[in-house]
Symmetry: C2
Subunit: 244 residues, 2 copies
């Protein structure tokens, strides 16, 4: 758990293939934690690519260039594998809450900071597992655990919203529905984002926060942030297309 190395010492720089501690099969670096972590990460990637049900443990094992029993040597079940991926993702968000807790800025800015981290977490390799792990795929016990973690995050967002309304940095609103809207938009990133995209997770999160902040309706003051290069021209073309 406390071992942070992600690549084996033998492999200077992993090539296209996933970093597999088994690569140099001779010098075994009998570090359970590292390998276990590699199993979790490989599972997360496969789940992300093909979904939980369409990923067999043989697939995951093959990705690591080992066999299924080897995977079972590090985890007890496929369910636990999904659960671990979920926890890994959620932990990033919990960390975001901890980070902003003691910041001395208006609640809206703390919320924005959390949402930025949230977006990045969803776009990370564990994003899929965190967001799309279905309750129905897990045992009742794990399902309850996951629900509790999700609920904690949800209520953290709601609280920040309430605080923002209180300190005047956020417009009065229904905290519950607003939290659902914000989290939903960010969660959905996991449905369409692929790492080979042009935008990074941080950029997407930034763009989303801008939308949340400003809203669609134009403001009295000057237009904020959003880039406007070529907008005019593109709109004109779109309008023409609509014309017919």
């Amino acid at each position: 758990m406390n071992n942070r190395r992600t690549s084996p010492p033998a492999a200077g720089k992993p090539r296209v293939a996933v970093d597999s501690p088994w690569r140099a099969s001779r010098e075994r670096l009998r570090d359970r934690a590292v390998k276990r972590e590699a199993v979790i990460r490989a599972a997360a990637r496969e789940f992300n690519r093909k979904g939980y049900h369409n990923t067999s443990l043989d697939d995951i094992a093959a990705r690591l260039e080992v066999t299924k029993p080897t995977v079972y040597y590090y985890v007890t079940s496929k369910e636990q594998l999904l659960f671990q991926c979920f926890v890994a993702g959620v932990e990033q968000i919990r960390a975001a809450f901890r980070d902003v807790r003691h910041l001395e800025v208006p609640a809206r800015e703390r919320l924005n900071a959390v949402l930025r981290h949230y977006g990045q977490a969803v776009a990370s390799e564990f994003g899929w597992c965190m967001v799309r792990a279905e309750d129905q795929d897990l045992s009742p016990a794990m399902s309850r655990h996951i629900k509790a973690l999700k609920s904690e995050i949800d209520h953290g967002i709601r609280r920040l919203i309430r605080e923002g309304v209180q300190d005047g940095s956020i417009q009065p609103c229904d905290p519950k529905m607003t939290a659902f809207a914000l989290a939903g938009a960010l969660n959905w990133i996991a449905h369409w984002y692929r790492e080979d995209q042009s935008l990074t997770g941080a950029q997407i999160a930034e763009a989303f926060v801008a939308v949340f902040e400003g809203g669609l309706r134009p403001r009295a003051g000057a237009a904020p942030l959003a880039a406007r290069r070529g907008t005019r021209r593109r709109v004109r073309r779109a309008a023409q297309a609509l014309g017919r």
Copy 2:
């Protein structure tokens, strides 16, 4: 397809159980279309409750009080079943676009109208299938078809955003990212909404549109819509909890 009846003539008012044309097994009302539609709806409900992979065709058949071959008598495969549910859901949204197309109001209002319909569709019984049908669960051909439909909707939203920016009813923004944020928030409704909820789909959609419109940052003008009962007290309590 063109048969719009949703309940069999024999059953005056369906009780708790799903409306099954097989109910009174004696008087068979050999209307293929009605039965086929019932199969689709039953499948949508089961998928919604337990997910695609955790729903067997036996489950669906049992729900209709028939057996699996009977289901296969009306559909060719489980995959097609999911596809039909998807199409049924998406069609509601396409209809929304058609409805607003010729409205003589600012684009932002047309967008809002579409989003309201969108939200209701996602909260409908086909919402799950429309939103959570994974590409990976379907054959390449159907996957492509679904992607095309989704893309059509996405680009419809983007177009409305561009038009809004053009006619001044929407604040300048990146249409692509904004569309992702809006659609994502609404899509996510399918992940948490259950029909037995206190709020209707329409109410949720309304609340979301309010958030999208206004944004989080307070405006110069008066604060709109949202209720403020007890907010002060609750925040104080939350702040105390945070203090420790």
